[in-house]
């Protein structure tokens, strides 16, 4: 088979958006699934309401119709069984892609994912491979504490799992295809507000329209994106800003404001995959800018911002001209009321404030 290894493709900036329709992330993901299913019969899907209903965020739209009941399987509400079944299938010749309806529910299947799937190849001394993907939406959208978390750090902290968090349709498609072809368990996290599709009751469309800026389209051709290759979504010389998912977009917005109003040029880096993490790109950028702000929607303590801060404090400390600032959810569950949710989720203003604090110090 042939494909483009689109490692070096740079993001296309706003001007392009007029020319080419921005494919929604939900469509990019759907296309990735469809292409991989077309290409490889071993690729099968399972999850709650993904078949007849086509997914609570509609990522699996049309797939049940096209590929049938055998390859797109609705499951009981049984996260242990979903992840465990994916694992058992992966060990025996299939390449399952499981959907967990919200990443919060990964807690229900935590043992299967973290103690079994992540470790079995290791415990068996390499006798088996585990080509499985678990997809799950994350992020806060007014649904209170049990449906709003961003739990990537739990899984970054679980050796044996790869963790992917795309922020654009382009990345989403290329990374999901890579995830499906990877021979290791991959957790693929999708931000609800970036899908760009209206979920039953969701507000995702709006969020995407507000963001646009680096919402790079996903071409229809086949391409893969490598894991472990961060993408500099915006080059800059004054401050390094590292952010994933929705926070990447907020960081880009913040960067544009800062460039306009204050003449501060942020280099905005999207790791795209947290495991493997492209440490070099981050460290090299900090060596250049001397300042680092890390932005993430997970909670602060032992979160993604902690890891990236620690990395730089170990490997580029003497290049730093300012303390490392973390912009993340303070150590709290997510409250229901919109005004409180807003207060805990990092906002563009928080990023601007943090950047200024490291530049003007």
């Amino acid at each position: 088979m042939s494909y483009v290894l689109a490692n070096e493709v740079r993001p296309i900036f706003p001007g392009v958006l007029g020319l080419m329709p921005v494919k929604k992330i939900v469509d990019a993901l759907n296309q990735a699934l469809r292409e991989e299913m077309d290409r490889d019969e071993r690729v099968v899907l399972l999850g709650e309401d993904i078949g007849v209903f086509e997914g609570s965020y509609r990522v699996t739209e049309g797939l049940h119709a096209q590929f049938g009941e055998e390859r797109v399987r609705d499951t009981p509400i049984s996260e242990i069984a979903i992840i465990g079944a994916a694992l058992g299938a992966a060990l025996t010749g299939l390449r399952p892609v499981a959907e967990i309806q919200f990443n919060d529910f990964l807690a229900c299947g935590m043992d299967q994912l973290c103690n079994q799937a992540a470790k079995i190849r290791f415990m068996l001394g390499g006798q088996v491979t585990v080509p499985m993907v678990v997809r799950a939406p994350y992020g806060a959208t007014g649904r209170a504490a049990q449906h709003s978390q961003s739990l990537e750090a739990w899984f970054v902290h679980t050796p044996g799992l790869k963790v992917v968090m795309p922020s654009t349709p382009y990345d989403a498609k290329g990374l999901l295809k890579t995830a499906i072809r990877d021979d290791n368990p991959v957790l693929f996290l999708e931000h609800k507000l970036l899908y760009g599709a209206t979920s039953p009751g969701g507000k995702a469309q709006t969020a995407v329209q507000e963001l646009g800026e680096v919402f790079t389209p996903a071409p229809d051709e086949e391409y893969l994106l490598p894991f472990g290759a961060a993408d500099v979504k915006r080059p800059g010389s004054d401050v390094t800003v590292v952010a994933t998912g929705m926070m990447l977009h907020k960081s880009i917005k913040a960067a544009r404001e800062l460039a306009g109003a204050d003449g501060i040029e942020c280099e905005v880096i999207d790791p795209r995959t947290l495991v493997p993490l492209d440490r070099e790109t981050i460290i090299d950028s900090v060596k250049k800018t001397g300042r680092l702000v890390v932005v993430s929607e997970d909670v602060m303590s032992c979160g993604v911002t902690a890891e990236i801060s620690a990395l730089v404090a170990e490997h580029a400390l003497f290049y730093l001209d300012a303390p490392i600032r973390r912009v993340a959810v303070p150590d709290t569950p997510i409250p229901f009321a919109p005004v409180m949710e807003q207060a805990v989720i990092p906002q563009i203003g928080d990023i601007i404030e943090a950047v200024k604090s490291v530049v003007y110090r």
């Binding site: 709650e48 007014g142 649904r143 209170a144 049990q146 229901f336």
Partner: protein, 330 residues
């Protein structure tokens, strides 16, 4: 069933129905925070079960919790205010529809994670048994929840420890979009009771009187220390799974079929037929409830919004007994 009881239960069902119809309108016509899962169609279950519970008995609820709250006697005003995310809400705008609960009437919380309230109910029943308080716990859950590991572990523990809990499975045919028979290889979830050494019964969940009668037996059994019961109530949800979900996965014929056996209509017909009450009384209750709901909306609208950082006080209880260094705000 006595006249007074009958009238109260009728009122409860009307309260639930009108509370949600109002909310449906509100969601259509103005920005409302969050989402909701409606209980319409299932009223007889919550009301029939809670009819036997004292104020200090406990219940656990689900993502579909409005009905349980009202049936257990929570304040309509506080519930409505929670839906509006106001500080006067029963959860102080911290939980919203999915976690709506009023502890003062014995609600241990509405758990938004399917099945996850079940072990909690069992723990409360253990506590009641240990404290010899005589309190009974009613644990509401859906047909979908019956396939979660939490269901199994909860029923098993309740079975071994002979705990005073009534497991109420509201089999409303669907778990989200999925017909329960597509994901459950038995016709009756109640049959699973046998795995846990407890009685299991199937009851017509549209018929308040049927639910009322079975719940009486189960609550009584629990109260007497004889252990748990699993009651499966065959019922139906009229609305989509959540707010504006269209429920295209089911036929309108199916919906119509169930609506013919609407729990409010059935009970109203029974009441009128039994000559316990006359139509005027029931209309009086309806009108009363209309006013109550309007009042609750007014109350909610005029209640204060929370401040952005109000949430901080709810993360941890500050222990007064002895000083503890707490993590500083970051």
């Amino acid at each position: 069933m006595e006249r007074e009881t009958a009238l109260l239960l009728y009122r409860r069902m009307v309260q639930i129905r009108k509370f949600e119809e109002k909310l449906y309108q509100l969601f259509l016509t103005r920005p409302m925070p969050g989402s909701m899962h409606q209980y319409n169609g299932q009223e007889a279950v919550a009301v029939g079960v809670c009819a036997h519970l004292n104020r200090d008995d406990f219940i656990t609820s689900t993502h579909r919790g409005h009905g349980h709250c009202i049936a257990k006697g929570a304040s309509i005003r506080a519930l409505m205010a929670e839906m509006f995310a106001k500080t006067t809400g029963c959860c102080r705008a911290m939980g919203g529809s999915m976690h709506i609960a009023d502890y003062s009437v014995g609600m241990l919380g509405a758990m938004g994670i399917v099945g996850s309230g079940m072990p909690v109910a069992v723990g409360a029943a253990w506590s009641s048994q240990y404290r010899r308080s005589g309190q009974v716990v009613a644990c509401f859950f859906g047909d979908g929840a019956a396939n979660e590991g939490a269901f199994h572990e909860a029923l098993n523990l309740a079975g071994v420890w002979k705990l005073p809990v009534v497991f109420v499975c509201e089999n409303n045919v669907y778990g989200f979009s999925t017909h329960y028979r597509r994901v459950t290889p038995v016709e009756n979830i109640a049959d699973r009771a046998a795995s846990y050494g407890m009685p299991g019964v199937v009851v017509d969940g549209m018929d308040l009187r049927a639910v009322f009668d079975e719940a009486a037996t189960a609550v009584d059994r629990a109260r007497k220390g004889e252990g748990a019961t699993l009651i499966e109530c065959k019922t139906y949800r009229y609305m989509g799974h959540s707010r504006f979900e269209k429920a295209a996965y089911r036929s309108s014929e199916e919906l119509d079929e169930w609506r013919k056996r609407d729990p409010l209509v059935l009970f109203r017909d029974f009441l009128l037929g039994s000559e316990l009450v006359d139509a005027g009384e029931l209309e009086g209750i309806d009108a009363d409830v209309d006013r109550e709901i309007e009042d609750a909306v007014d109350y909610a609208e005029n209640s204060p919004d929370p401040k952005p950082h109000d949430y901080r006080q709810y993360i941890f209880k500050v222990n007064d007994e002895f000083p503890t260094h707490h993590q500083k705000e970051s």
